[in-house]
Symmetry: D2
Subunit: 353 residues, 4 copies
């Protein structure tokens, strides 16, 4: 498809999400990593020395000898910039890169709520990417910022999209069991999680994110703004002793109640919008529905579709609302680095680079 690969960079390259970016960009058919940026204490070192690699797949050869540069628009020259930065740093740096002409595909939460910033899961709201046109006019940027949601919102929102399309969703109660890699490295001390769970995630903003972000992604783009979906959310978040893979237990009220079998059929039949369907990172399939009474399970199902597929199980009647089910999504692939890369691919496909 491409005659020449598009130069891309990773900001925050040494952290655990940065590592996933580097791993997923290995041999990417469209993109070529030309710069790895990290904090001052890593700058100047070969990546292999600077990063404490935590993935169970080896560090890609291309990255080992790349010398880390500062995360500045001077030092990083790339058409696409993947941001695995911490929020406070992303707040400042992402607009600077967008202004300097880069398409910033961000995993940070800084601009997810921006009125002219697409919050994307291409398999469900690819059309929201058009918002970048408005963003560019608004801000006078030649680049742009596009974002992906919080890793816990991800799988849940994909499941809800199908149900909302077909039957209308009114209310959602959701409880998460989140993996350790979501906290980065060093992240959660082992003494805090061995023989234990922690009934809260992060510094407390996690539940609010999961109660708000799906409403934007399930919302309607019209007239250069996104109208939030009129769905109510109540969310509990928990950290559990799992390396990768966030599980969410959900109870849902529908406008047009259906039997579980009908919902399962709809979930299985779902296909991504055309523009998001055949990209290198497109999930294949978008959704897998398991029939077993004890699935999905993080260790067994997180790598479905190379970690991009949303796995759903235990779709059954809810005694108060209409349906109960369980959703699993790989939090550092579909829920973080893979998400930003998929977003970048959509941007290219839509000619918005």
């Amino acid at each position: 498809m491409m005659t020449e690969k598009i130069p891309v960079a990773v900001l925050g390259a040494t952290g655990s999400v940065g590592q996933r970016f580097i791993s997923l960009l290995d041999d990417h058919p469209w993109f070529k990593v030309v710069a790895l940026a990290a904090s001052d204490r890593s700058v100047g070192q070969p990546y292999a020395n600077a990063a404490r690699w935590v993935l169970d797949t080896p560090m890609p050869a291309y990255a080992r000898d790349m010398v880390i540069v500062p995360a500045s628009t001077d030092a990083v020259q790339a058409k696409i910039v993947f941001s695995a930065l911490h929020t406070e740093i992303a707040n400042e740096l992402e607009p600077a890169f967008a202004k300097a002409g880069a398409a910033v595909c961000s995993n940070a939460s800084s601009y997810r709520r921006g009125e002219d910033v697409p919050l994307l899961l291409p398999e469900i709201n690819a059309e929201h990417v058009q918002l970048v046109k408005h963003q560019r006019r608004n801000k006078g940027w030649s680049g742009c910022i596009i974002t992906n949601p919080n890793c816990t919102s991800t799988g849940l929102t994909i499941a809800l999209k199908v149900l909302d399309n077909e039957f209308g969703v009114k209310k959602v109660f959701a409880t998460s069991l989140q993996a350790l890699s979501g906290a980065g490295y060093p992240g959660v001390p082992s003494l805090d999680i061995m023989d234990n769970i922690i009934p809260n995630v992060g510094n407390g903003g996690e539940e609010e994110k999961v109660e708000w972000e799906p409403r934007k992604m399930l919302g309607t783009l019209s007239d250069e703004t996104i109208e939030l979906a009129d769905i109510k959310f109540s969310v509990h978040t928990n950290r559990v002793a799992v390396i990768d893979g966030h599980t969410v237990c959900a109870s849902v009220e529908l406008e047009n109640p259906v039997e579980p079998e009908t919902a399962i059929q709809a979930l299985r039949a779902y296909a991504a919008p055309l523009s998001a369907r055949d990209l290198p990172s497109s999930p294949r399939p978008v959704i897998e529905v398991r029939d077993e009474a004890d699935r999905p399970q993080p260790r067994l199902d997180r790598m479905a579709g190379n970690g991009m597929t949303t796995v759903i199980g235990r779709v059954r009647r809810d005694p108060i609302l209409d349906l109960k089910f369980v959703v699993l999504s790989h939090n550092t692939i579909r829920g973080a680095a893979g998400a930003s890369i998929y977003n970048a691919e959509l941007l290219v496909k839509e000619g918005l680079l």
Copy 2:
């Protein structure tokens, strides 16, 4: 208080709940273990040989040399019989013991739904124990059967009792994160739970139990029957890599909505009914409310009140209903062996033995 200790027996003494009974009955001020019963393959062996001890406290000295007897009314002579039997076996044996004159204090689920069988958590529904009078008349038994609820119902129901008393409870969404010891020994294979969660418990009846049992315990005793509380429940159950301690995340709708602070005050102020207050196993306090944003945690909080206290935290507004909170309860102490012992103490206190 007692001049002579009451002879008691443990049925199913070698299993993990049986072990908790043996441990908690060590030096009990009112009870003396006179018989340990188990399945045929253990009969005739000293307990120390027959049981694969899984608790992290040592096997009590009194039990080591007791020779295991069959679980029959002939072999077991005791006023109180603690049942840690599997359901199918309990179905048959418990009535036989009751008929033979024993007070069967059961942790099995066999008779929890029996119309004349008390399902007890003495700190909240001690008055239900009076149902045994009716049971005896009904069945013509000199003994009786009294039961404690499923370990996941336990903490949740105690929390709900206080809220229901004060503000009225209408609906409950609950998601559990349950400990491994709830599955007994050998129970959950390590390959199933390492780096994993299982989004279902048991063979599937667990959620239905937790959706029904609290309604009986929160119900009203009148005219020799218990009217189920008119509260709706929707429950998800999960198994997590925790040894002991079940955590439940709950969202609750109230008849008279209140601020979290008011609910916390009520939870902290709660005292058990007089008859259940000063028994050897009474939880002290009944409820502990933690203020930290990340508590209760199983490893840190399960032994509150020697494993009998219900620990609650994160009491906050629910965006759809009224309140959200987290409840922790030790599943093999308050939720199993400790529960049956506390029930037996209540029976004695009320002169119903």
Copy 3:
């Protein structure tokens, strides 16, 4: 290379090692699975129903609908038969298959000590495979039995081979930290290993195996017998909370003591015998030596060379003997299913099928 694939079967197909066979044989360039055999209670069922899949890679499509057959020479028609049978069953069945003409490539311990049975790690003792000629004459079989060692012997023996070749090995003290998958499924109960280690493996024969098997593999084939290597072993085995990957800490006395750097050079320079070098399952490289002070680690290093490479680290002076080091090997790939497949490939390559 092959015009037509060789028909192979897996005995004990539903267990955890059986699953690895099925996974590793997916798309094998030389072999085609024509039969899956298991115990009576699985016979007649499609594999997808009969097996409780525990690997984190999906069940290969080819296996899902294969109907399980009994492990008998009538029901199983294949040139090569991979045995993941339990010892007692292997005792009887493997000779029956060999007599019936099949090349039995066994992971069971039954015949490892047989005087005419090769115990193989092709990258170090490929020449021992010639023993099957003698075995066939001896037993009058058209088929044969060849075996791979215990999973804990595997990595250690490969490391020792290099040191023995170059410097002579006299004594070995080894302590293992073994993964849970080595015990099969359901295997180790979670209550036994959470927040715990077990300072023994199996029913006690494990240490004796690791003290004896390397001596055979490091021995010399001459005149139709193998002379055991004159090396002394002392072994401690432990089970730890790791899913896959056995770690061994070793202290070694050499005939010609060398500096750690010299040993590292020799380990890195090692190449398999020519006949074992370019087979589909050949480890690439045979040995990887890590320089970091805290490697190898099971989670990070077990998949080196697709799980076939032996990873060594911390090569340093021993204060009593000569060298200390740490060896890691994937126990169900290099140490079990992958081992038997590699053995089968060697058999084919040497024209001994």
Copy 4:
């Protein structure tokens, strides 16, 4: 025994060893905690706010409201000072306290090798405490410094003492499987140890400590110096997914080889020196020998003797040397805080305060 309790302080009170000191000193019959000292960022705060409590027993009531003071001789007025300081800080502060008149009972490694500093495990080398007389003359201190060994040396040395007394010990090969609490808090990141082991501990000095410290403790006090025992050690250290309890696998060469049964008898018969026998923290018994083939195990055995007993198992012949066995010791009780307290009690008993 005491008419008035001796005022004691804890330096480094907020860390995980500091927490054990506070827990073990709750209701101590001889000592009363009068000061808790920690780093600047905690000074001035009530202990309950400053410490992130990681023990599974509740924070003692006495400590909750104590206001943290700086770790200086001005701020801390106590006869006995328990040091849970980091090495670099202990280097400076411990002599300052000793000079100011305090008996410093230290868990830090700073002065363990000091020629006039006792390295104590009272149940085996109580007489070494007399070295403080020499230390006081030497340094002109009214106070003193006494130390306990590294947590991994502890159990091993106690086992070796008995064998050395009775049969003479010549060589020791030891491999440790160490608990996470040994690394303090936050310590080991969960991503480093879930489904993993780390074949090294600390920054590399651990093995050298365990190869040297036992030689001092097993050495002979004469003429104001300790002659190191002439025993050779080779040690491998590993970190495993265990919360508390260090396990060591040991192979030992004896001067007068004996059968395992004889060694077991000697281990069981061992009694502490008279002066160390009836102190509040004396282990009861000093050593417990388990007969089972799979014990000791950290989760089941670490609390033997309230965490002060050394548990030994699998005493058997070693195929190269004479004996193999497994030792377990609670690393933050017998191996750290409990050790320093036991040392302090010995100091009092011997009139050396």
